[in-house]
């Protein structure tokens, strides 16, 4: 057990990495591949939970890869800020696997299952690696690992548009990570180090050089691309819409969140609050983009007829909320953003899972195909509605926790109009969720539509697990709020 505890940070990443090639070899036995992947994701979740416990008990953990002492060697670094993100990723991985069994069987060619799950594990591993590593270049590498795996996963969607969306994602993603690489290069020129903590210590000396400013610009833009900040979000809606359902669930819950975490790490921990917000006025750049990013995609979502696409646009809007919290440049705002990472992951995953249940039975989720579906799939739709309430931000759901903190943060900063704006845009979410409810509950099924049965248990249970989480953490908010609070304080404090 001691051995295990000691190597937790490495295991977090190594477990899925180790499992990926093994699963790849199981191409002939899809069920076995699934079982192995499930086992791995649950073990990974176990590691995350143990890490949470360790961090809460003993404070931050630093793990030296290969025994090399940082800043020379690569360091894995776990502190209250990234533990939340690790938990989100491994939780979502674990909970989407039981769901995957039947959903993937239906949507993905059987011969590809081994590769599919291997790629899924790699995506998982990449995301965990981005989060846990304390080395700037390593972030880039893990970004690419997870991205490459996601491109492959998205391209396995049934619709032919999946391939094209994957291509677009690839081009955009590559541009984004290359920007990241350029930014890292600039920082390396000026400081001679890649270790994030070391960077944080050395950067203040060279802060006023043009190179560092350029590095900052490249990093922020590059990461904004990965996190789908408006107007760099254009790759996201198609990618989420046409990917296999289970991948949509996983990516929507994790991919953009991790990118946001990296952004937070870089602007708060590495460059520091002073530099980012006082000298470079990052807040003034992020806030209008965040607000536009909430408003426009929300309106677009209202007019969508494909519900998966609608939710994808809603994801862009939700990213806007998170960035808005960041742009307040206060502990409270930051805390709202971090708690929304968790809340939105749970909520959106639940929503996409409910849609996946419907896709499983009906074959599609356009508004007209969902007409009257509530009678046939009452449990699925009930989950959708509850998670939808959370998306809107009704009290007693996790969505409200975010909304409340964002509002307080806006008012704390004296940003009156922003608070009004926040409340106004939550009505937009009401409208698009309403459209689905209206179709499902109040309309009659189209003529000649085949009646369908309720989704199978293996799909329903994970969906409801997340839905219940939406409600539970909306009532007993102590766990996410407390973790987010610690994360925000850690981030505001920088590495020093």
């Amino acid at each position: 057990m001691d051995l295990l505890i000691q190597h937790l940070p490495a295991l977090q990443v190594v477990l899925p990495m180790l499992a990926a090639p093994i699963v790849m070899l199981m191409a002939r036995a899809p069920r076995l591949a699934w079982a192995a992947t499930t086992l791995t994701t649950w073990l990974t979740l176990g590691v995350s939970i143990l890490l949470v416990q360790q961090v809460l008990l003993h404070g931050s953990i630093s793990y030296h890869m290969g025994g090399w002492v940082p800043p020379v060697g690569i360091e894995y670094f776990v502190d209250p800020a990234n533990i939340v993100v690790l938990l989100i990723i491994s939780l979502m991985g674990a909970i989407s696997m039981p769901f995957a069994l039947r959903s993937v069987e239906q949507e993905v060619d059987k011969a590809k299952h081994g590769l599919f799950y291997a790629a899924f594990l790699l995506a998982n591993c990449g995301l965990l690696g981005i989060t846990i590593t304390g080395d700037a270049f390593n972030i880039f590498v893990f970004f690419e690992i997870s991205a490459l795996a996601s491109y492959a996963l998205i391209a396995m969607g049934k619709d032919r548009r999946a391939v094209m969306s994957s291509y677009q994602y690839l081009v955009m993603g590559t541009v984004g990570t290359t920007f990241l690489l350029i930014g890292i290069g600039f920082m390396y020129i000026m400081t001679g180090t890649l270790n994030l903590i070391d960077l944080a210590q050395r950067l203040p000396e060279v802060n006023d050089t043009g190179t560092i400013r350029a590095a900052f610009a490249f990093l922020v833009v590059g990461i904004s691309l990965k996190l789908a900040l408006f107007p760099l979000h254009l790759w996201l809606p198609n990618a989420y819409t046409y990917a296999p359902s289970m991948i949509t669930v996983f990516l929507s819950a994790t991919a953009t969140k991790v990118a946001i975490y990296v952004l937070l790490r870089i602007i708060f921990s590495v460059f520091g609050y002073e530099f980012s917000f006082s000298e470079l006025n990052l807040g003034y750049v992020l806030m209008p983009l965040a607000m536009l990013g909430i408003l426009i995609p929300s309106i677009v979502a209202i007019f969508q007829t494909n519900i998966k696409r609608m939710l994808a646009y809603s994801s862009v809007a939700q990213v806007g909320y998170m960035i808005l919290g960041v742009s307040f440049a206060s502990t409270l705002g930051l805390m709202a953003s971090v708690v929304h990472l968790f809340n939105h992951a749970v909520t959106k995953a639940a929503l996409f899972m409910a849609l996946a249940c419907i896709i499983y039975r009906v074959g599609g989720v356009s508004l007209d195909r969902m007409a009257g579906i509530a009678k046939q799939m009452p449990w699925t739709m009930a989950a959708f509605v509850l998670a939808g309430l959370s998306l809107i931000g009704i009290p007693l759901t996790v969505g409200f926790v975010t909304k409340w903190h964002l509002l307080l943060a806006a008012l704390e900063g004296g940003l009156w109009p922003v608070a009004v704006f926040l409340l106004g845009t939550s009505l937009l979410a009401t409208i698009y969720i309403w459209k689905v409810v209206e179709a499902a509950y109040l309309k009659e099924p189209a003529e000649g539509a085949q009646p369908v049965r309720e989704a199978p248990m293996s799909l329903l249970l994970p969906t409801w697990a997340l839905t219940v989480a939406c409600l539970y953490f909306g009532i007993d908010t102590s766990l996410p709020v407390d973790l987010a609070n610690r994360a925000a304080e850690t981030l505001m404090g920088g590495y020093l």
């Binding site: 107007p231 254009l234 677009v300 009290p395 903190h405 608070a419 908010t477 102590s478």
Partner: protein, 571 residues
């Protein structure tokens, strides 16, 4: 570690009646048939017991998001409302006993439970939660009428309240950030927080011009749902206004205007439930006016009037509902002569009608005169006059017009039976309370928030004034009726009341008011349509912002943003 995962569940020291009812209602679909009926009655009874056994005090305090919450604050003010809500839930349950619609029953219970939740809420956030829950549950009482009109008006209902919910929440957040406290006491801040919360409450209290949702939605609700609706939403708003905004001068005028406004439109209404719905606006006006005045007697009067009003208004809706249920018709012009076939309904209805018209020996008399008396004491003659005028209009429409054309008058050829027993029982209970309170007002007075209540409704002055008024109105009605003649084909919409009779002004207001309103709506509609058009042009599935962009343009955006941020950072 420990404190992070620990849970402290609220409400362990006291069984919150709302939670009991709301959670209990979730089991309704489990049962069927007679068992379910018994279960529903038991649940409503348990709810009543829980409410009536609550002793004043503070319960279920807990922490949420680092703020002090209080789910149970029971004092004289909240209890009087809780009592009547509990009675009402029982009556409503009996009235709806025969209905086979689980959604409606659950919605009704959750609705009633949330209303009590609002009254017991000691902090604004709990209040907000129950407030929204009320909305979300009550809308189903409208939708379950299952026709396109009820669907549309339910949707408008939802929309209006969603907006008011947002205003309320904005106000609460602002209040919290200004005072650092969420406790729901008198809202004692300046500026936006005050107005946002006030407007949020006023929407639910149906204060004109924010009242349209009520008269729009209630007539379209299910027969049994309307009974619930008439009782809870506006009266919880009255409670919150009473708690948060006593002695707010704007409410005096708002209330007075409400009474007249509601009555005016009620006189002109043809749909029986729309007529009654307008009367809710009018009656709530009395309470709002009382709150605005804010003296102990005025507030007592408002509370008493709310208590009485819930019972007689529900009885009116039950009577109207019985007619609709038995005949399938809701327009006065299509009804008539029903007293022969539904005598009990007729009697119960008339008791409620006398109550709302404040006949002596009915509940309305002992509560309404209290508000009037408060105004008289404070020498506010204009308001007093307005309230009295509205009182006359009330008798005219509810006490005379509706019964005359629905129950008496020309025989419409309808041959129907008496309403089902459970409906009659429910009406009987409500009627009993109307009379009982009228005869023994001290039973009601003991619940009022400001004790002791030193008020006697049965003074010679009150009696004379009230009877004079009622007789005079009755005289006018029958004189004019005779003048028109019983054979006259009655078309209330363009009817004789305002064309040939004294209140010409009413017609004037109606015509021009309606025209102006429609013009306003049309004017509003045009830019709205334009906005939606523009939005869908750019945001719709084919719009610039929603369609799939070529990869090149996406990357171009990256370049633009990079250039922009470089520029910003270098400057």
């Amino acid at each position: 570690m420990h404190e992070l995962f620990s849970i402290n569940w609220p409400g362990m020291d006291w069984l919150h009646p709302s939670l009991l009812l709301i959670l209990g209602s979730l089991l309704i679909p489990v049962f069927r048939g007679a068992v379910q009926q018994v279960y529903r009655l038991t649940l409503a009874a348990a709810f009543m017991v829980a409410v009536f056994s609550t002793v004043p005090g503070v319960y279920a305090s807990f922490q949420f998001l680092g703020m002090d919450m209080m789910m149970g604050r029971a004092d004289q003010l909240s209890l009087v409302f809780a009592y009547v809500f509990a009675i009402m839930a029982m009556i409503g349950t009996i009235y709806a006993l025969h209905v086979k619609d689980n959604v409606q029953h659950m919605a009704g219970f959750i609705y009633a439970g949330s209303a009590v939740g609002v009254t017991f809420a000691g902090d604004l956030l709990t209040l907000y939660v129950f407030w929204e829950l009320m909305l979300l549950s009550s809308v189903w009482l409208i939708w379950r009428n299952r026709n396109p009109i009820s669907f549309a008006s339910g949707f408008r209902y939802l929309l209006v309240h969603a907006v008011s919910g947002v205003l309320l929440l904005a106000g609460i957040v602002l209040y919290y950030s200004q005072t650092g406290s969420l406790a729901f006491e008198r809202i004692d801040v300046e500026g936006a927080a005050f107005w946002l919360i006030l407007v949020g409450f006023m929407v639910n209290a149906a204060v004109p011009p924010l009242h349209a949702w009520l008269t729009d939605a209630y007539p379209e609700a299910t027969v049994t749902g309307a009974v619930f609706l008439s009782a809870f939403t506006t009266k919880t708003a009255v409670y919150t206004l009473m708690r948060g905004f006593p002695e707010t001068e704007v409410l005096i005028w708002m209330g007075a205007v409400m009474t007249i406004w509601g009555v005016t439109y009620a006189v002109l209404a043809n749909n029986i439930r729309r007529l009654l719905a307008y009367h809710i606006v009018s009656q709530v006006g009395y309470m709002v006016a009382g709150i605005g005045l804010g003296t102990a007697m005025a507030l007592n009067g408002s509370a008493a009037h709310a208590f009485a009003h819930i019972l007689y208004k529900a009885l009116l809706f039950m009577g109207a509902g019985a007619i609709i249920y038995m005949t399938g018709r809701a327009k006065l012009t299509q009804l008539g002569g029903l007293y022969r076939y539904m005598p009990l309904t007729f009697i119960f209805y008339m008791i409620a009608a006398f109550s709302i018209s404040a006949f002596p020996l009915t509940s309305g008399f002992v509560s309404k005169t209290m508000i009037l008396e408060a105004y008289a004491e404070n020498q506010m003659a204009i308001i007093w006059l307005m309230l009295s005028l509205a009182s006359a209009g009330t008798f005219l429409s509810v006490g005379l017009k509706l019964p005359w054309f629905a129950f008496m008058g020309k025989d419409s050829g309808l041959r129907t039976k008496e309403a089902p027993t459970n409906m009659l029982v429910a009406m009987g209970i409500a009627a009993f309370f109307c009379i009982y309170i009228g005869i023994r007002p001290e039973w009601l007075y003991q619940f009022l928030p400001f004790q002791p209540v030193e008020y006697n409704a049965y003074t010679m002055g009150h009696l004379l004034w009230e009877l004079q008024l009622l007789l005079f109105v009755g005289l006018i009605f029958f004189l004019l009726l005779k003048y028109v003649g019983p054979k006259e084909k009655i078309t209330i919409d363009t009817d004789w009341i305002y064309r040939k009779a004294a209140p010409r002004a009413v017609g004037f207001v109606h015509q021009h008011g309606t025209a102006a309103w429609h013009a306003f709506l049309a004017g509003l509609r045009w830019p709205l349509d334009r906005i939606v058009d523009a939005a869908s042009r750019h945001h719709g599935p084919q719009g610039t912002l929603a369609r799939t962009w070529p990869t090149g343009s996406m990357v171009l955006w990256v370049a633009v943003l990079l250039a922009a941020s470089l520029l910003i950072y270098y400057l």
